[in-house]
Amino acid sequence: MIIFGFIILIICSALCLYRIGRGPTASDRSVAIDILGIIVVAFCVLLYFKTGDGFYLIVAIAWALLSFIGALALAKFLEDKGFDE
Amino acid sequence: MRRLILGCMAFIMWLMLTWPFNSSVGYQGIFIGIIASCFVAIFFGDYIPGISEKFLEPQRWLWAIYYIFVFLWYCFLGNLDVAYRVLHPDMPIKPGIVKVRTKLNNLIGLTILANSITLTPGTTTIEATDDGYLYVHWINVKTQDEQEATEIIVKKFEEILERIFE
């Protein structure tokens, strides 16, 4: 049962990675990186279901906050530079 | 006062993080938590805006609980809408950025309004100006007029939020 969840989340990450690699502009890549961070949180929850170890939820908290700060930093950088490929 | 509230919130959060109080956490963990939340309360107390006596009135809290259910319902509808548009072969979209007006001037209320708009049917807040305008990206633009767009996007949340914060 849980293994199907892992397969679905791996497909999701692959779609995000496709957008990171392909995305025509830098902000497409930033969006995909932000979404990938939230999907990693879902991964941590599934790992908790698999192993029964509450430690993974703490990893999820840390990852959620770090991914938010990363997205804000990317947004600030985009706004100042307007860099493009 | 606001420092006390902030310190209590930080300490509750710390307790939730270290809940299984086994031998590895023990009394030391709680002691460190008290010190850390005191530091947070002293240094960051000034950044909490506008905590006043309004927060002690019970009807505001009841409206807040009602708001959560309204918001969850619209959030669910929004996701079904996005699912329909994603899976439809022709992608029936008609995007655009419209301008809407809001009467809220409480900072927390405005933040909650903008975040709710972002999480509900086909709309994303792009910018909130100082004079009460919101720029909203809309997946299916029904009208470009400011008044009508305000009726459709903002009204349903604004009425409840006014009762909570104003």
Partner: protein, 114 residues
């Protein structure tokens, strides 16, 4: 019983995550991608965390509630920042776009200043 309800929530959440990521790939410009992905993935991950709240023991459920709060506050804020940044740095919108009031107003303001 608890187990079944939690698995149903888990499954619906995974479905929404998948939908969000398909939207991220299919939609034609940054703003649409951001919108589809943020909404669906936030709700999906929220439902997955809700399944932990239902099935897990009390300490784990408390941590899951914390993650749920963080995600539902931070994810729209990050989306807002990214959308504003892309609009300010003049990322083109899709050809079918009806109107763009934000760029119009911003250009008018800079013209008035100079």
């Amino acid at each position: 019983m608890k187990e079944t309800i939690s698995h149903i929530f888990l499954f619906i959440g995974l479905l929404f995550d998948l939908l969000g990521c398909i939207g991220l790939v299919r939609f034609p410009d940054v703003y649409l991608r951001l919108m589809a992905a943020t909404k669906s993935v936030t709700l999906g991950t929220g439902l997955i965390l809700l399944s932990v709240v239902i099935a897990g023991s009390a300490p784990v459920a408390a941590k899951a509630v914390l993650v749920l709060l963080f995600i539902s506050v931070t994810s729209p804020t990050a989306a807002h920042a990214l959308a504003r940044a892309s609009s300010v740095s003049d990322i083109k919108m899709w050809e079918g776009t009806v109107c763009d009031k934000f760029t119009e107003d911003r250009k008018r303001k800079t013209n008035e200043k100079t």
